[in-house]
């Protein structure tokens, strides 16, 4: 649901054709998330289907131009105005994986944490290397890169935290898997708000 919004936002700047849109998107995000061109066209179709963009004839060179509609503008405004979903946060694969690792007996949780930690640290190095260049020019990309860095750092911190807790749990003799047999359902509907 973010490519859709992203492309739509770019179209608010100026009508564009498909290839141009892809270039604009990758330029802003610094090619952090490579975008298959085909997806631009499928997404444009869907946006047109939903009345958020419309075909606007052809370019001087014959490119099929797309233009944003009033409804589209409204949607973009709404997107920027509404904070990103901290109500039901996006499923975090790593968190799920660790949760399962400590739930299912016979999994070497420490090893999982270690492996992840190494990988994340390596990614962090890559990001830092990339940040060296490209700094002041592309503000957008620079911020995206920083986002990746902050995320990765938080992940490392969390992994360390996990290790500490696991060590403590192990020391206290709890065999990591003292789950009840018949799992009780719905002990926390509150999270759902």
């Amino acid at each position: 649901m973010s490519i859709r919004q992203g492309l739509l936002a770019l179209l608010e700047q100026e009508p564009m054709y498909g290839y141009q849109l892809r270039a604009a998107f990758e330029s802003s995000t610094g090619a952090t998330w490579p975008l298959n061109v085909g997806q631009v066209y499928t997404t444009l179709s869907r946006l047109e289907r939903d009345g958020l963009v419309e075909s606007a004839g052809h370019d001087d060179e014959g490119h099929g131009i797309y233009r944003i509609t009033p409804a589209g503008r409204a949607e973009v405004a709404d997107w920027f105005a509404t904070p990103v979903g901290r109500g039901t946060p996006p499923r975090d694969e790593l968190a799920i994986k660790l949760a399962m690792a400590v739930t299912v007996p016979g999994v070497d949780v420490r090893a999982v944490v270690q492996a992840q930690r190494t990988a994340t640290l390596r990614a962090l190095q890559d990001y830092t290397r990339l940040k060296a260049r490209a700094t002041d020019s592309d503000l957008a990309w620079s911020l995206v890169l920083d986002s990746l860095v902050f995320d990765a750092e938080a992940e490392v911190r969390w992994l360390d935290h996990c290790e500490a807790r696991l060590a403590r749990a192990a020391r206290d003799g709890q065999s990591t898997g003292e789950q009840r047999q018949t799992v009780s359902v719905h002990q926390a509907d509150e999270v759902r708000r």
Copy 2:
């Protein structure tokens, strides 16, 4: 791609029927990500289609039990052994949104940052409140909660960082939108590795 793996991992612990699986999943993740029961069954079908689980007759009470296959076990082992995708990191909607906000002229970036900051801080409070209870018992849920906290904290830090950079950029007169007209493609294929 994480529910699939999660359910599969749970089945390695012990054969189960659908409803039980959902309970186990929500128990481990602390109902942080509520899981529609229907999805358990669709996912089970797909897992069976792929030969990772198989039907194992019926329970004493007539429940349709699913059992993990050797191939399934292999996949789980692989899942735990392979670090989560720090090669092409998952698309971060907030990062994309901010990138677009600074790219498209006429967007009040500061307002976007502010709104997000408020929302995230509020979420952080909720998490902290939840952490008060539930601590030592459910290790898994506790870790998931911590993950959310660490993530949210990193987000706030990043938002502050963004604000600072934006202020600096504004002070230096760059009108936030000094993007080149014709966007240059592929200036950074390196990220893709």
